[in-house]
């Protein structure tokens, strides 16, 4: 199997106000096309682990491989490029840029990647919006669409560069039941139809149950 993401012996400490170990010998890997959920109680370190895996947090010990490449800890522009190209993010809060319309928000990471022309990026962004059923919102300002729609725009944005993996931090945490189900169905479809790899942090057991694989954490360790 093709390993998209692999963590080897990851340890992380918080030093302020006293030194606490928040991640202890984390070892696991995710294969292409897997829909994985990362669950555990509040404070068990699941979000911390996700930020280490996302390359945004480089203050850890151990090794992280994305697509077989070891992530350096100091090269900020290189990590930014990896995030741009290989990882899509969906957060609990949507984090759309209110200065831009929906389409432009989706396009930004694609324009940053600079692999396709602007017209092509626009075309691809429209396709992603169509997959998520929100193409009619394309020209609305980001702050004029509803909460559930915003989260779907954020998913479209995560998809724009055809990332190797989509990482989500409680992507349904802020949504009602109906919208949560909608977002879950989208993730499920992405995994089943498009063979998209996903790693989603959640504390919602009903969400986790329906994924391919559950990684359970407790006190900074993976227990199952």
């Amino acid at each position: 199997m093709n390993k998209i993401l692999e963590a080897k012996n990851i340890n992380k400490f918080f030093h302020d106000p006293i030194t606490i170990q928040v991640l202890e010998n984390v070892n696991f890997s995710i294969n292409k096309g897997e829909f994985v959920s990362l669950t555990g109680k509040s404070g068990c370190g699941k979000s911390t682990l996700l930020y280490v895996l996302s390359t945004m947090d480089t203050d850890y010990e151990g090794k992280l491989f994305i697509d077989g490449i070891e992530m350096p800890k100091k090269n900020e522009p290189f990590l930014a490029k990896i995030r741009n190209e290989k990882i899509g993010f969906v957060f609990q809060f949507h984090y759309l840029l209110n200065e831009f319309n929906v389409l432009r928000n989706v396009m930004l990471p694609g324009l940053k990647l600079n692999k396709y022309s602007e017209a092509e990026v626009e075309h691809r962004a429209m396709e992603k919006l169509k997959i998520l059923g929100i193409e009619h919102l394309a020209l609305k300002q980001a702050n004029h669409v509803s909460g559930g729609e915003k989260q779907r725009v954020a998913i479209a944005r995560a998809l724009i560069n055809d990332p190797h993996i989509i990482m989500g931090d409680e992507p349904t945490g802020n949504l009602d039941k109906k919208n949560s189900d909608l977002v879950f169905d989208i993730f499920k479809r992405l995994a089943d139809e498009f063979n998209q790899t996903l790693l989603i942090v959640t504390h919602d057991p009903s969400f986790a149950e329906r994924t391919h694989r559950i990684i359970q954490m407790e006190d900074g360790k993976i227990i199952s």
Partner: protein
């Protein structure tokens, strides 16, 4: 493409907060406007004041000073060469004031490539007689054409024509104050008595206002020939040669050289009028420092507004970084914002500065001592505009640099987790 994207983002951030942007830009505009106006006005004033004295003064003046002879006879006696000779009651030389061999000296000076031109001059002390009243005064013998070309003589001849001095025999141009005292007008005659007691009738062909009232009360001008006649001296008798150089800064060196070469005294303009040079440079210094202070204040305004903007846009910055924009991209975005404000505000400032100077240029400014000045003096110097735009660029760049660096260091994890 990459640059264009960053510019596009910067632009959107700018327009999303266009009121703030405008306030920041107005700050820059105001400071550049004042900078340009202040410098244009100050330079105008400087030129005016310099013109009052410097333009009318020779760069190098050649004359014979009244002073004791440096070669006293005792020093030439071989018996007294050892030790130091003290001589009591040394008197100034009875040397004549005329310059020896003046024709040859003038011809030789005119061949000097550093020299723009020269004008010979001589002075006669006379009494102007008006009934029973005698007014002490002096008559300068000049060459009106050269005097006008080199020292702007025409500019302060307020009535009459300076060229008439050579056209009309025995003619004179009186100082305004002197003419008022003598109650004469153009076409009238004045009577003068020389120091030797000779009487002369001179015809008034004009009056002048030099801007310095004390001068106007005692001075008058006539042609060289007329003054030579008054003094009853031969026609090569002149007491000073006023040399104007192409480059004023060479004056001290040239003066020293001529002193050696022609065995006379020579004084340069820097020595004669050092106070004006100092005054001008200090005024210029003050206007530059005020202008630059204004700019720095505007820079702080931009700094504040950008800082606030970064605080407001933390989330946006975090998501930009999470989705693959690097720290330097974020930094560039904020520097673009600052520099755009700076350049836009600066260009408007240049425009308004030009406008304000043009308005000041139209305000009437009449003063009795400066007959040629009708409005406030303004200098339109492209250098001020270039300095203005460069400074607005530099200050806003640095005002943007610090907040931008802060933005580039924002850790996306902290913000995203903090929600």
């Amino acid at each position: 493409m990459r640059k264009r994207l960053l510019l596009n983002i910067a632009n959107s951030l700018l327009l999303a907060r266009w009121r703030q942007t405008l306030v920041a830009a107005v700050g820059v505009t105001f400071s550049i406007t004042m900078f340009i106006t202040l410098l244009s006005f100050m330079s105008g004033l400087n030129d005016l004041l310099d013109g009052l004295i410097l333009n009318r003064t020779a760069h190098v003046r050649i004359y014979n000073d009244i002073k004791p002879n440096a070669d006293q006879p005792i020093n030439k006696n071989s018996n007294y060469t050892q030790g130091h000779n003290f001589i009591a009651s040394v008197k100034s030389d009875a040397n004549r004031q005329a310059i020896y061999n003046s024709d040859a000296i003038m011809k030789s000076i005119l061949k000097d490539p550093r020299v723009l031109g020269l004008s010979p001059k001589l002075t006669a002390q006379v009494f102007f007689n008006d009934g029973s009243i005698d007014i002490t005064g002096s008559v300068f013998g000049i060459n009106p054409t050269e005097e006008t070309r080199l020292y702007h003589f025409d500019e302060y001849v307020t009535t009459g024509n300076s060229a008439d001095l050579t056209k009309v025999n025995n003619s004179i141009i009186l100082g305004k104050g002197l003419a008022d005292k003598l109650l004469v007008q153009i076409g009238d005659a004045v009577q003068i008595t020389t120091s030797k007691g000779d009487l002369f009738q001179l015809k008034v062909v004009g009056t002048f206002q030099s801007g310095i009232k004390d001068f106007d009360n005692v001075q008058s001008y006539a042609s060289i020939g007329t003054v030579q006649k008054i003094l009853s001296v031969p026609n090569d008798y002149i007491t000073s040669i006023q040399v104007k150089l192409k480059d004023i800064t060479q004056a001290p060196a040239v003066a020293k050289e001529y002193e050696q070469l022609y065995q006379t005294d020579a004084e340069d303009i820097q020595t004669a009028n050092s106070q004006f040079e100092t005054g001008s440079s200090i005024r210029t210094l003050i206007s530059y420092s005020v202008g630059i202070t204004l700019l720095i204040v505007a820079g702080f305004g931009i700094y504040n507004i950008l800082n606030m903007m970064i605080f407001e846009k933390m989330d946006s910055i975090a998501i930009l970084k999470a989705t693959g924009f690097s720290g330097s991209d974020v930094k560039n975005i904020f520097i673009y914002i600052a520099v755009t404000i700076g350049i836009f505000g600066g260009l408007m400032g240049l425009l308004f500065g030009f406008g304000l100077s043009a308005i000041i240029d139209q305000i009437p400014f009449n003063t009795a001592s400066l007959p040629t000045i009708k409005t406030y003096p303004i200098v339109y110097n492209p250098r001020f505009y270039i300095i203005g735009i460069i400074f607005s660029f530099i200050t806003t760049y640095f005002a943007g640099w610090f907040p931008a660096r802060k933005a580039s260091k924002i850790d996306p994890v902290v913000i995203i987790r903090g929600k």
